[in-house]
């Protein structure tokens, strides 16, 4: 079985919810929509306080080319446009909607009927995806319509569907594949049509044999779509790692894109959202969230309307365990700790993880012993100990020379460090600074 060559770690999978069916969560009393749920410019609100909205009504327009619109997931009245502490831990502007009933936009097809064909043209499909506010559902939240329009000079030959879900604990994509395989395959066909190519590979890690066999049986009659089981290794779900695992091609360092090696990667959740947007005219306002944790009574996979406060999901799963030390939005490797349980579910919330106090607290940090475990673990072939030291000394030049911008922030280095050094924290800081320096330099030119 294929996998990427350098680095990687093998964290405990802990997929507690792999056999739990997707359940639908009740509507919240108030839904909160942060305006920046994606990479790029924040969206601009197009509703005002007191406006009545329906499910699927657009409430914020893209704030630029690299941006995405936001739709209401509930019907009711706009209560206020204020700020909320989101998963980033910072206070950001958001639209608050008081829920009244559940009235959908009439244009949305709410039936379960599978729609196989659409006669929309390529441009219409892209417009449709853009209007639906679809972003990468894997966690990075990169606006999908931007990704589907690769630079003209690149020739794309392969579409890779990221169904790896290498993060421990998370099972949202796994369940989606088991419960909606047909929709996913139609979604893939739509993307192939947009890109004008005929080859797609679905990369799935070997710990999901049920999903692999189901997809294989569904795709056996479809030409051009292949299911590729991959060896288990974190961070295989990283775009560059997945491209290497599937095609053997290596993406050059930034500013090169996957398109430079002829690949476009889409998360399986995004594919499902594209199906719903194109075939059912349904914008992105729902997603599947894995609520999990070792101490949790009823870990589950939930279909949640965006804007629902995290507390409601936790309540459904049996309440927050008393010994919880950290509440994390996302998986244990790349997720971000939440400040409290009032944060809303956003487009990038793939999971909610409650870690017991004993596991959550970082133990005392020690000096680097130059064991080079982090170097061995880094899937990008970087030297994390050096980058962290440079960052600690504010030596941004050294960090830049050592390719800090190639870091994908997967956290492998930090998880292997025997001295328990917060390597990723330092690298993130340096990445932020070096990124700023590079942007300033480019602006001068």
């Amino acid at each position: 079985m294929n996998t990427f060559k350098i680095g990687g770690v093998h964290p405990e999978p802990n997929k507690l919810t792999a056999d739990r069916k997707i359940e639908t969560l009740a509507l919240p009393k108030q839904a909160v929509f942060p305006l920046s749920q994606h990479i790029g410019a924040p969206a601009v609100p197009c509703v005002q306080k007191g406006d009545t909205v329906r499910v699927g009504t657009r409430i914020a327009e893209p704030g630029g080319f690299m941006s995405a619109s936001i739709h209401s997931s509930v019907s009711g009245k706009v209560a206020k446009i204020d700020s909320v502490i989101d998963a980033s831990g910072l206070r950001k502007p958001a639209i608050f909607i008081d829920v009244e009933g559940d009235e959908w936009e009439p244009s949305i097809d709410r039936s379960d009927k599978l729609i196989l064909q659409s006669n929309k043209s390529r441009d219409e499909i892209i417009e449709c995806i853009k209007n639906a506010g679809i972003v990468g559902m894997g966690g990075a939240c990169f606006p999908t319509h931007v990704k589907l329009c690769p630079p003209k000079e690149c020739t794309i030959d392969t579409l890779i569907i990221n169904a790896v879900e290498c993060e421990p604990y998370l099972t949202a994509d796994h369940r989606l594949m088991l419960e909606h395989p047909d929709e996913i395959i139609i979604g893939i066909k739509i993307i192939l049509k947009v890109l004008g190519i005929d080859r797609a590979v679905i990369g799935v890690e070997a710990n999901k044999p049920d999903a692999i066999s189901l997809l294989q049986s569904k795709t056996s009659m479809v030409s051009g779509i292949e299911v590729m089981p991959l060896q288990m290794k974190y961070p295989q779900g990283g775009e560059k790692q997945l491209i290497e695992a599937v095609t053997g091609r290596q993406v050059p360092p930034p500013p090169a894109l996957p398109a430079n090696v002829g690949c476009v990667v889409q998360n399986v959740g995004t594919v499902f959202a594209i199906y719903e947007a194109v075939m059912k005219n349904k914008p992105l306002f729902e997603r599947i969230v894995t609520v999990t944790g070792k101490g949790l009574k009823n870990p589950c996979n939930l279909k949640v309307r965006m804007g629902t406060p995290v507390s409601q999901l936790i309540e459904y799963a049996g309440g927050m365990p008393e010994d919880t030390g950290k509440l994390i939005s996302g998986g244990p490797m790349m997720g971000r700790p939440l400040l409290d349980d009032t944060a809303p579910v956003v487009k990038g919330t793939s999971g909610l993880l409650m870690i017991p106090e004993a596991d959550a607290i970082r133990r005392e940090e020690r000096n680097c012993i130059r064991c080079a475990k982090c170097v061995q673990a880094c899937p990008m072939g970087l030297e994390p100990y050096l980058l962290a030291t440079a960052s600690e000394a504010s030596d941004w030049e050294c960090a830049e020379e050592n390719w800090i911008m190639s870091c994908i922030e997967c956290g492998c280095c930090q998880s292997t460090c025997p001295s328990r050094r917060p390597l990723l924290d330092w690298v993130r800081l340096a990445k932020n600074r070096v990124g700023g320096i590079i942007r300033a330099r480019n602006a001068k030119k």
Partner: protein
């Protein structure tokens, strides 16, 4: 005997020839330096703090010599006499600047601003500011990881382990501004030193609305605007729910200090007021007092209004 003489002669001649070559080369390729650069560098502190905006003291000295006037050239560390000496060397006039000092505008000690979470990431304010809001409910105040302490080249700023806030030693502080630059939240500001080191300032940078700010910190500015109204010199402005005292306009009358309902405005190094009768007790409860250096004996005004 003759071989000794030969050796001496050969070596002597070689030495002479090489010496002549060296002399010729050194004359031909001599680098002309302005002697004044050296003189000025001697006068400068030599800490290479970068407070002047140049890479180091030598670079600053060179800039002084090359420039046509002393405008914009100021070693923030040097006293004004030193600047005048430098001006005498370059032959330009220098304006005597006001001496400044770094002021920590946050009084969110452990008592005033209780911690809600544990931040156990990298020990750096910059990293903490990137990550999330830090350990308290205030998203604007001091993060307490000590980036300013690391930045200070003059050992003038230290963390107070009790309050978790940095304390500026005003005698050592040279107002180079390195700490202010290092602070990711702009808590530290360079303010006029004034006579007898007396200062009045708003010890808060929280721009949240009143209730939010008050919930996060007991001594947060809530933007009520009372100080703006009472100030006779129009020195106080209110922007984004936060009052700011312009130190150029402030005449240190201290009316705002008594008016502030949150005790956010601090007056330091003033002698105790004589007329105060009811506000006298509770002197031991001084949460925001440690923000300012302890050694000053007259440091009692904020103790009075600390209850």
């Amino acid at each position: 005997m003759s071989f000794i003489l030969t050796a001496v002669l050969v070596l002597g001649l070689t030495g002479l020839v090489l010496g002549l070559v060296l002399y010729a080369v050194s004359r031909k390729f001599k680098v002309e330096t302005d002697p004044r650069v050296g003189q000025i560098t001697e006068l400068l502190p030599g800490a290479n703090c970068g407070g002047c905006g140049f890479p180091g003291c030598a670079a600053f000295a060179e800039a002084c010599v090359k420039s046509d006037s002393m405008e914009g050239l100021k070693c923030s560390v040097c006293k004004s006499e030193v600047m005048q000496q430098i001006a005498a060397i370059t032959g330009h006039a220098v304006e005597v600047g006001v001496e400044k000092v770094a002021v920590v505008r946050c009084a969110g000690s452990c008592d005033n601003r209780p911690g809600l979470r544990v931040y156990d990431g990298a020990k750096s304010c910059a990293a903490a500011a990137l990550m999330n809001g830090g350990a308290t409910g205030c998203f604007f105040g001091c993060l307490g990881c000590g980036d300013c302490v690391k930045a200070c080249k003059f050992d003038a700023i230290k963390m107070d382990p009790e309050t978790g806030l940095p304390v500026v030693d005003q005698d050592k502080c040279t107002a180079c501004g390195a700490c202010a630059k290092a602070c990711p939240r702009n808590v530290i500001e360079l303010r006029n030193k004034n006579k007898l080191d007396r200062r009045v300032y708003v010890s808060c940078v929280n721009k949240d609305k009143g209730p939010v700010a008050k919930k996060a910190c007991a001594v947060a500015c809530i933007g009520c605007g009372k100080c703006v109204k009472i100030c006779p010199f129009e020195a106080i402005t209110l922007e984004n729910n936060l009052a700011y005292i312009d130190f150029e306009k402030c005449r240190l009358c201290r009316k705002c200090v008594d008016e502030c309902p949150q005790h956010t405005i601090l007056a330091v190094n003033f002698p105790p007021k004589k007329v105060v009768a009811p506000a006298e007790p509770k002197a031991e409860e001084t949460p925001q007092a440690p923000v300012e250096p302890a050694p000053m004996p007259e440091n009692t005004v904020e103790q009075q209004k600390a209850e």
